[in-house]
Symmetry: C2
DNA sequence: TTGAAAGCGCTAACAT
DNA sequence: ATGTTAGCGCTTTCAA
């Protein structure tokens, strides 16, 4: 492993000049910079994060805090992979830490440079308490002034609804959960917006946010609608099962676009959440905040992925 | 943030004595140890991994190398979570790195303390080349002398088969993929072993290792068996679909025990792979190798989880 | 524009 | 059993 000293010796300068040439080129003569860079390249020099960390106080570690119960959520893994990729590109390593507790999170002050929080609330105690001590990044939306990235759920609600409208359906039910969670409210608002825009009356059914809820929601409808849009793929699985059992065949659109869309019968048209992108952008936003103090708030656009559970209406 | 110096001053000893009291108590007088420990506790002293790393060469980082294509595999996430938990308990942070390339892996020599390899082969070039330079841990079985943990797939094959035998079925087909992958061969061997033990003739059908393969395998059978055991849950999904379409009702057992078993209709009886435990034990085995050089080879036992896709035979 | 000295926090090697 | 010295690799003073 080559060190700055080795690079400096080969370039014929002092270690500090070599260091500056690589980190703070403005202070160094152009000729010197090229000499140093050539030497560094020749030796395959990679600065030691550890030594840098000791000097600068940076740990080069960021933590991804996930709720205990989400540990097995495959969609979260996609998000984590995006975070991981951004970390790698920026030289950070990633500590995945399953916890909800603020006290536990606080014990990491000084041991990590940043914390990524999932399941963020508008008024989030973790964001409030931690943001003073270290840089945080939030998946979702919160009132606190921290870097935050979310999926544009309003748009997602519109994408699913518009798809069914464009296929010629007018009696479209929206199946979701009653909840104070912003992301569900936004999806619903997107649906309502499109329906009203088309001069149609929204039909919204609330039930539990899983397969069984989707099934139950269908049974609670007075009559079968022309088409159904679900606030999650797992609810859509329940809807499909309901339809199967009754030999009904109407279009169904899900929301998430994950592994479930592949294994349903038929494969499920769904609003795909770009979790990988969200994870990556969020980590990048956090790094940006660390270096420049700049606070990014951003919405990432979901995308409708059409499979076989939707088709044009036949008159 | 308190340092050793602070602790040492409070305890009335030199920094090195404080350090030894905490890391190498054998060399220090018991009374001194208690003084130092009390001081450390009072100050909330946490040693700086960064500074330790600089001195000792340890980075306190381990890498989890996953194949690109596996990045979104929820089962792998369960494994990763286990690894992550062991890392945390031992003070390591975890770098998740999607790659198959040896060259890329080699670039991490000196930057991480250990690498966990998934998708290990019996003759694995990565294990061979890397084990000289850093500690590795392998998920699976390999001939090289590295810490390795695997699921006992032979036992898994037996668990699924025995379950169906005990329920009274004798004409049990095994649906799997033809492959040089050890884990598939072991599951098959477990099945064959139990069938022979019961004096029955094995019926094995090979097809692709996914939902479609499961479906296709069923069509290729001359007649419908009394029961089916699949080498994966996704194959079982295909089998269930085949049965649904033909209004057939025979018991089906899957293999993996993950998220799929919840969303099939009926919920799928399956051999559950303890991926979390494997991940955790593997990381621990790797840490043990780092500290003592001891090389652990271990099999973790899978467990049959009975749901509604199997029932006793009615005469 | 460049360099010399110093020190981040910790611990091995060498005293005592 | 304890302390002294020194240095891991890097970068922030301060000086030239």
């Amino acid at each position: 492993m080559a060190t700055v000293k080795d690079v400096a010796r080969l370039a014929g300068v002092s270690p500090i000049t070599a260091s500056r040439a690589l980190n703070n080129p403005a202070l160094v003569h152009p000729d010197t910079i090229s000499k140093v860079k050539a030497a560094a390249k020749q030796l395959g020099y990679q600065p030691s994060r550890v030594a840098q960390g000791l000097r600068t106080g940076q740990t080069w570690i960021v933590m991804l805090s996930v709720k205990q119960k989400d540990t097995y959520d495959p969609l979260l893994f996609e998000f984590a992979t995006g975070v991981s990729e951004a970390c790698r590109e920026n030289g950070y390593s990633l500590l995945i830490y399953p916890t909800d507790g603020i006290a536990e999170l606080e014990s990491f002050i000084g041991k990590v440079d940043g914390v990524i929080l999932t399941d963020i609330k508008d008024h989030d105690a973790r964001a409030e308490r931690l943001s003073a001590e270290l840089t945080i990044g939030a998946f979702g939306q919160t009132q606190y002034d921290v870097p935050q990235i979310d999926v544009d759920n309003m748009l997602g609600g519109q994408l699913g609804t518009r798809h069914l409208l464009m296929l010629g359906y007018r009696d479209i039910a929206f199946i979701t959960s009653s909840s104070d969670l912003l992301f569900l409210q936004h999806r619903e608002q997107g649906y309502v917006h499109c329906m009203k825009e088309a001069g149609l009356k929204p039909t919204i059914v609330y039930n539990s946010f899983d397969m069984h809820g989707g099934y139950a929601a269908m049974t609670s409808l007075e009559r079968t609608p022309e088409a159904v849009f679900c606030a999650s793929d797992s609810m859509a699985v329940g809807v499909l099962r309901y339809l199967h059992e009754r030999n009904l065949r109407i279009p169904v659109v899900g929301y998430d676009g994950g592994y479930l869309t592949e294994i349903t019968d038929p494969p499920l048209t769904s609003v795909k959440q770009p979790f990988f992108t969200v994870g990556k952008r969020l980590a990048e936003a956090m790094f940006e905040c660390m270096s420049s103090g700049n606070i990014v708030r951003e919405l990432v656009e979901p995308e409708l992925v059409v499979k076989d559970s939707t088709w044009p209406r036949i008159e």
